[in-house]
């Protein structure tokens, strides 16, 4: 059951990622990105990271992508014209060669990695909100605080830049 769900959502994630690159219309690309994010959230859920999954849904798929779509709608960006590539050779030989390259690389990387036990669905239990909060405020306190200051600086920077325009 877990493996089937994993395969389904991994497939959706990969298809959406390809469609994100291939689509010519910005809205279609943005929606494909949302598809990637939501299927990633399901994968997190399968691995037992519930809090991360819901944060992914609320922050990435919800808040950030809504802003993307908002901007695209405001700018009223249309579809970009498809560029006709004249090189037929690149199309017919390039794609299989690229696939072979990826397969080779993944094989080499996998054989270089140390042998570890495979991921067990449901084996990880530290994904609830309590555990995440505890480790954020004990083990990873410094990176957490540094990140928050970084985000604050970015926020102030955005406001300063926007002020200049007015």
């Amino acid at each position: 059951m877990d493996a089937v769900l994993f395969l389904i959502f991994a497939f959706i994630a990969v298809v959406s990622a390809v469609s994100l690159v291939v689509q010519t219309h910005p809205i279609s690309s943005a929606l494909s990105l949302i598809g990637v994010m939501i299927s990633l959230a399901v994968l997190y859920l399968l691995l037992g990271a519930e809090f991360l999954a819901s944060a992914q849904m609320i922050v990435y798929a919800g808040a950030i992508m809504v802003l993307f779509i908002f901007v695209i709608m405001l700018l009223n960006a249309g579809a970009e014209p498809k560029q006709k590539s004249k090189a037929k050779l690149a199309k017919w030989i390039g794609i299989p060669l690229f696939a072979i390259f990826i397969a080779l690389m993944s094989y080499i990387i996998q054989s270089m990695l140390p042998k570890t036990a495979g991921v067990q669905f449901g084996a990880f239990t530290g994904g609830a909100a309590q555990e995440v909060g505890r480790s954020l405020f004990t083990q990873y306190l410094l990176p957490f605080e540094v990140t928050s200051i970084l985000i604050l600086i970015a926020l102030i920077g955005a406001i300063v830049l926007a002020r200049k325009e007015i």
Partner: protein, 392 residues
């Protein structure tokens, strides 16, 4: 019993009751609004217009389904589906009552209990924005586009105070699961007043309600479909079933949000006062009273029609009152009654406000969210966190 069969039965029951309730919520809204405005409301179809929802559904199903030539077809079709799917799923994590024993089968009156139940509802509402925004954009119509833009801006803005208002009771109950949250609110102060989080968290309850009105695009925050400026806003170009999908999504969102408020602040299925003062007999008394009133008016009819319909309604009410006295059914019906009473009360407030308040102006709406509601929610959260930290 097999887990899958049990879940299937429960899901079917909940889906049926939920969809029927949505249809009748609209009838109740029209009736209440009509009485606020000194009209009588729908009363042609069936006794007192009770079959009006059915007539509406048939009308919407049989209308011509227009597909305008200038729309972006794929997203135009996708948008209502997205809106209604995200709106209907949330009900699956809401508990209607505690664990009950039905013919030896122990089960919770809830479809599923997630450890991240609250976050699940929030993430669904976050994704639900796309339905409205895409509908506005894909319709290729200026009014629709403005409606879609307004609604996405409004929903992003009001999501923040809503999430902050939700966080404060979570600090008190110390859980994200709805089931545990309600159980944390069990008990009574001085043996009389229920230990609901609405008392210590009154401000966040009010902030949540205001933000919820904006999240569901209801009056006084229904800018996305302001009729006098935008025709019908984001669903101007939709007809037939697709229009019905948006309509259903709006009402489903209303029910979800009020059920959420019931769980978070009003103690879910827990009774209003302790059992030793007779909270068991409240539903019986209410239905008995309703039945007697209906019977009285049935025997002294103001309209010839009432001679038949009101006694039937009266007998039905008396039957329901008797059902609540059956000891075997009591543990199932009582929690459901309290849950429905609280949710229904909040839904009535929704309709009441629609009949009372005028619409905000758009800049007022944004100004209110960012300069008042958000800081107030933040302050409330900080104070709550401080108190919780000092107490432990």
């Amino acid at each position: 019993m097999n887990f899958y069969i049990l879940s299937l039965i429960k899901a079917g029951l909940v889906a049926f009751v939920f969809l029927t309730a949505l249809a009748y919520l609209q009838w109740i809204e029209r009736k209440v609004l009509a009485h606020i405005q000194l009209r009588v409301g729908p009363r042609r179809v069936g006794p007192h217009g009770l079959l009006q929802p059915l007539a509406d559904v048939i009308k919407l199903l049989t209308k011509e389904d227009l597909l305008p030539p200038y729309v972006n077809k794929f997203f135009y079709m996708l948008a209502p589906f997205l809106a209604v799917a995200t709106a209907l799923v949330s009900i699956s994590v809401i508990p209607f009552g505690p664990e009950v024993d039905i013919f030896g089968v122990k089960t919770w009156l809830q479809l599923t209990d997630l450890k991240i139940g609250v976050l699940f509802v929030l993430s669904l509402s976050a994704v639900g924005v796309y339905g409205v925004a895409l509908a506005g954009w894909a319709s290729n119509n200026k009014y629709s586009l403005i409606g879609g833009l307004r609604s996405s801006a409004q929903m992003i803005s009001y999501e923040l105070p809503m999430a902050l208002a939700i966080a404060s009771p979570l600090l008190l109950t110390n859980t994200l699961s709805f089931r545990e949250m309600v159980m944390a609110q069990d008990g009574f102060y001085w043996g009389l007043i229920p230990k609901w989080t609405v008392w210590p968290q009154f401000f966040s309850f009010i902030i949540f309600l205001i933000a919820a009105f904006a999240e569901t695009n209801r009056v006084p925050f229904d800018l996305p479909e302001a009729e006098n400026e935008l025709v019908a806003g984001f669903h101007t170009e939709y007809s037939s079933m697709k229009f019905a999908a948006f309509f259903m999504a709006e009402y489903a969102n209303m029910v979800t949000v009020t059920a959420l408020a019931t769980q978070l602040f009003l103690g879910g299925w827990l009774p209003l006062f302790p059992e030793q003062y007779g909270s068991k007999f409240v539903p019986t008394l209410i239905f008995l009273f309703a039945g007697l009133i209906a019977l009285y008016h049935g025997f002294n009819p103001a309209r010839s029609f009432d001679r038949i319909t009101l006694p039937i309604a009266g007998v039905a009410f008396l039957g329901i009152a008797a059902l609540f006295l059956v000891p075997f059914l009591q543990p199932i019906l009582l929690p459901i009654f309290w849950f429905c009473a609280k949710t229904g009360g909040l839904l009535f407030i929704y309709i009441w406000i629609r009949g009372t308040l005028p619409r905000f102006r758009y800049d007022q709406l944004m100004h209110f969210a960012w300069t008042f509601l958000f800081p107030a929610a933040l302050l409330n959260l900080l104070v709550t966190a401080l108190v919780v930290a000092l107490r432990s």
